[in-house]
Point group: C2
Chain length 673, copies 2
């Protein structure tokens, strides 16, 4: 499943020329001509604005849509799973067992969700670029650009009250200001059992045909009451027939289609193998933890699931990169583009930047542990807050303060044993990365082995308590310097290296941005407006046909049915994860087994699109994206329609089971109304 694994995404890059249904289009630059030519569809401003305002971004990484006038939000179970996990206790496991709020009073507030509704887009490229002069060094240019972005964001937020983000598009070719309405009172209404949502488990993940009810429904509140929405999607349970044109409105997280061959080679030979080593390491760690008992298995499950998902996705991506024919094709296209320009320095710059990144591989100034990240943020915050907003590290600016505090002060549960295990592993990994003789490693370990040191640090921190974190955030530099909290102490040791590395990395990013901006101009010049920017976890429109495909000589039909789920279960003898929940079995006789359950289409999606609404020509909801098939895993680098498909839950199945499996007729009545 295509959850955006934001923590493992690096620098966000971009962009491409278009064939067939390829493209993740900006809502302020939709491919009207192509849609008309290829699919005889006329896109109107009313149609696209309604769809934009009905679309929702889960700031934690995912997409969704408004589906009723009284605030209902439909997304994937696997986008919701982080919240389901945080709302669970050893006694009440919502992530596994599901939930249904019979009344508004039963709806459960999520501890730290932020939902974003995009309300406007403004091109601010000229204002950003005006802040950079030719005489500036790269580092100065980077800082000037960051400051200009912060100033624009802050002014916008002050003027409109809306969350305001300047988005870097085409890797630096364009800058757009996105304004969002934020919803932070988000409550859980209904979730099916994990057995229904993730039927077939890790084995079926990224496969097709699929039979998953990967959906969950929340409701947004304002002033303690269900939000009253003007824009929401109506539903069309008869839609998504084979051959239908459909649209996907969501937030693809990151693609890298603009990458030069040098950058792709860096991904293939360095970054991806390292990311996969890391993912496999964390996967084994969490598996082992889960073996200690059912409660440990529950505690680790959500993170383990995300890691397995990423590992499978990265494996597919790397396989695509390792196919020599892909890079040969890329090299040809690059040569063609280069032949249209006189200045080849952008390509040289990017090759230099990748070499610099390789040189940084054995440095590290941070630890990937939830509790440590809190400490790190608090230590950075103390200093950052002494600066004017536009001079701060991006995430500490005023315009982002609400989002930062929501995650930093989240009351979500943290588990002593799991945090200790993860910190110990991170200390070991830090030692491996920098080498055991490194002075900083010696300071960090303080004469102890990683496990012993982790135990000492966890025993000596107050970071488990949201109140303690709130108190620490108020201390300022002097207070933080005096803090006796063990993890704050550790973050202080690492702070200089963290800041040094961040400075270097941001300079490399800026050099890349400048180079890709030039390459983008070359592409615009050579290929006209058939160029969309690489994904940036902002709202995009993709489109395609509901369409099956050929695999190993077999014809794979585009849709599956509820009845097919029972057959799939029987074919796997109800072993492993091929077990439907008891509620399905109990309701089997009542269900219309011909109801479509999942379907595929050729739309161009990627991680972050999870939960995206799929709509028809009328803008009516026909499904919810939850996955791509294994042939689509190259989407980071290129879109293929031969076999690559986006996979969605059909809305008809959601309506059918709400009524007949979950006795949620009351909820069903609200949908689309």
């Amino acid at each position: 499943m295509r959850t955006l694994t934001a923590t493992l995404c690096a620098h966000t890059l971009f962009c491409c020329s278009v064939f067939a249904d390829e493209g993740m289009w900006l809502f302020n630059a939709l491919p009207a001509q192509q849609l008309k030519q290829q699919h005889d569809f006329t896109v109107t401003e009313a149609w696209s604005e309604h769809l934009m305002l009905s679309s929702v971004r889960f700031n934690s990484g995912g997409s969704a849509s408004f589906i009723s006038s009284n605030g209902l939000v439909l997304t994937n179970h696997h986008v919701a799973s982080d919240t389901l996990y945080k709302l669970s206790t050893p006694e009440r496991d919502l992530a596994s067992g599901g939930y249904y709020a019979q009344t508004l009073a039963d709806e459960l507030p999520a501890p730290d969700l932020e939902l974003n509704q995009l309300v406007s887009i403004e091109d601010v490229t000229q204002r950003i670029n005006a802040s950079v002069t030719d005489s500036m060094s790269v580092a100065e240019a980077s800082k000037a650009r960051q400051a200009a972005m912060a100033t624009i964001e802050q002014a916008s937020k002050k003027a409109t009250g809306l969350r305001s983000d300047v988005v870097t598009l085409y890797g630096g070719g364009r800058y757009h200001l996105y304004r969002y309405k934020r919803y932070t009172d988000v409550r859980l209404v209904w979730a099916p059992e994990a057995k229904a949502a993730f039927f077939g488990g890790d084995a079926d993940n990224f496969e097709y045909p699929r039979y998953c009810l990967d959906v969950t429904i929340f409701r947004v509140y304002e002033d303690g009451k269900p939000a009253q929405l003007e824009n929401f999607l109506k539903v069309n349970p008869a839609g998504a027939q084979a051959g239908d044109l459909v649209f996907v409105s969501g937030n693809p997280g990151r693609t890298q289609r603009i990458l030069t061959t040098a950058a792709l080679e860096y991904q293939r030979d360095h970054r991806m193998p390292r990311v996969l080593d890391l993912l496999r390491r964390k996967e084994i760690l969490l598996q082992q933890y889960g073996l200690s008992g059912p409660e440990q298995a529950r505690r680790g499950h959500d993170e383990l699931f995300g890691i397995q998902n990423s590992r499978k996705a990265y494996t597919g991506m790397l396989a695509g990169l390792q196919d020599p024919s892909f890079l040969a094709d890329k090299r040809n296209k690059e040569a063609r583009l280069k032949s249209t320009v006189s200045d080849l320095s952008p390509w040289e710059t990017i090759a230099e930047v990748t070499q610099a990144r390789i040189g940084l591989q054995n440095r590290s100034g941070s630890l990937r542990s939830g509790l440590y990240r809190f400490a790190e943020e608090l230590v950075l915050l103390a200093t950052e807050d002494t600066k004017p907003s536009e001079k701060r590290l991006r995430e500490f600016r005023d315009s982002n303060r609400q989002s930062l505090e929501q995650s930093l002060f989240s009351p979500a549960p943290l588990y002593d044993d799991l945090e200790r295990l993860q910190l110990a592993d991170e200390l070991a990994r830090f030692t491996e990365t920098r080498g055991g003789n490194d002075e900083l490693v010696q300071q960090v370990l303080a004469g102890k082995g990683p496990r012993e040191r982790a135990a000492e640090l966890i025993a000596g921190t107050n970071m488990f308590s949201a109140e303690a974190r709130q108190a620490l955030a108020k201390l300022g530099p002097a207070g933080i310097a005096d803090s006796r909290d063990a993890l704050i102490g550790l973050a202080k040791i690492l702070e200089p290296e963290y800041r040094a590395l961040r400075e270097i990395t941001e300079e490399l990013d800026e050099r890349e941005r400048q180079a890709y901006a030039k390459i983008t101009e070359a592409k615009f010049a050579a290929e006209g407006d058939s160029v969309y920017p690489d994904a940036t976890f902002t709202l995009r429109l993709a489109y395609g046909l509901v369409k099956g495909y050929e695999e190993d000589g077999q014809s794979i039909p585009p849709r599956t049915t509820l009845g097919g789920a029972f057959q799939h279960e029987a074919a796997h003898q109800r072993l492993e994860d091929w077990v439907l929940p008891d509620s399905y079995e109990a309701a089997k006789d009542k269900l219309d087994l011909d109801t479509p359950l999942n379907f595929v289409c050729t739309a161009d999606i990627i991680g972050g699109n999870s939960g995206s609404p799929v709509v028809d020509r009328q803008g009516q909801l026909v499904g919810v994206i939850f996955d791509g098939n294994i042939q689509s895993l190259t989407a980071d680098f290129y879109h293929s329609e031969v076999q690559g498909r986006a996979v969605a839950v059909h809305i008809a199945a959601v309506l059918e089971v709400l009524d007949k499996v979950y006795n949620a007729a009351e909820l069903k009545k609200q949908i689309g109304k």
Copy 2:
């Protein structure tokens, strides 16, 4: 469990000064004085020769003992598991379900086992060293030494008919000629269910208290009849009481206690993190394969088990190395030893060699796939066989020919899907190691992605058939050059790089040997004869007390009982791997639940000792080593008696369950007789 993971062991090194019950002693240099002083035990030649001749080495990696006059051999289930796996079919899974041969006719011949009985040891140091002169380069010295070893081995084999191996001890300080009687007709007599042998699974592995019946019984045959043995162990079911002195006679695979700090730093910062990345990669790969169905789970299980075992062991070893206090202590000792000598060049040489090894990390000329290894051996064999025996690569010498052919022509089953998966992963890893632009990588992939190329190679090879491999082995260089077999073709592409790397590595090994030989002389001079060589997968004697320990303020008793196994099962609610076999449950009422099942002692063991007999002062069998606890995992680098313990199956439990669970009274009667 401490299976010798021979494929992941690197160069074999050595040696140390001794405290308390530390030591893996040579049978021709037993620590008589220490045994007398510390334990009032007088070791006689008759006692040690009987024990030596009753000890057995599984050439595939493990230890065992003769336990009857009619050829019975007792080892671990996890040492036998490779054979149990090879004897299994989808219809009859012996690895999981166990086996009992009611009659001789039912005993199942193992497809490729070689058992070795050590019959004599001879010091040949002077003859080996005489082959090397001061004027030789390192490469010449290495070749001369290899040739001298081959000549001695060949002459010995010719004169005695025995397998003759020159063993490098103290990393090059001494050379001993070991002569073995080989048993290759080895038949399976009895194995318990995996649920009994590996009760508690991966979670309990390396933990204590334990409750595993990790034993299996084979029988060696000569001329088609059970071998008649003069030397075998009698049993003492009342032995291994708390405080008893016990001895372990087995084949520890590899320790690295002589390593200099530079070499330890290389292990800590480079080799072990890489090995762990590799192990985790293979673990995930086999787990994913097993998810495709029960038959795939069966096919992958034996290898997966070995990998998980190694991963857990290496994790513990690395954690020990990462504890700064260990290396600080090592540095102090090294400084003391250095202060006794004038020539510090050996330490400098080793530091240089480690740097050279780091420089080789991005080269590779081989693939870790079972089927590819066959092809590689056949390609090398064709050329090696044109040379005189002493000039060949070590494994192709005449003295090793029988062992080589037994494994190369093994009729053990191979599975198309598993081989394709593993080859694809190895092609991907080869690409990652050398980089996708590497010329050799391009040749190997032949324009295709790793998966596609692997499918093509597997479809184009005859390597699945033992007969085809026999035919290929007869072809000679011209025939191999003409072969159309796809995997032979691949091995030919890689052969030059394989040979180049092997030449470089053997030269580094020789430089290390020369350096460690000098360091050993310094140690002998400074510390007298309290120095034993590092483990070399040859027979050693260890000793210690049956003794519990303290952990987290709790007192861990030295023995567990059959009744404890049932309690342990109940405490884990019969979940995951904490399920005893039905046969146990059925026999529960008949069993004497006070029978000791597992016990721990302070003897100094490591991987390869699996299956080693544990004997008492009278040389009578009291148990079988099968594991070390988690605190003993630092044994590669140092022995600790504070909490580190060897874990054994008590012989009383074996006798009790043979009778009452497995209805094998007939077999029980033969044991010790």
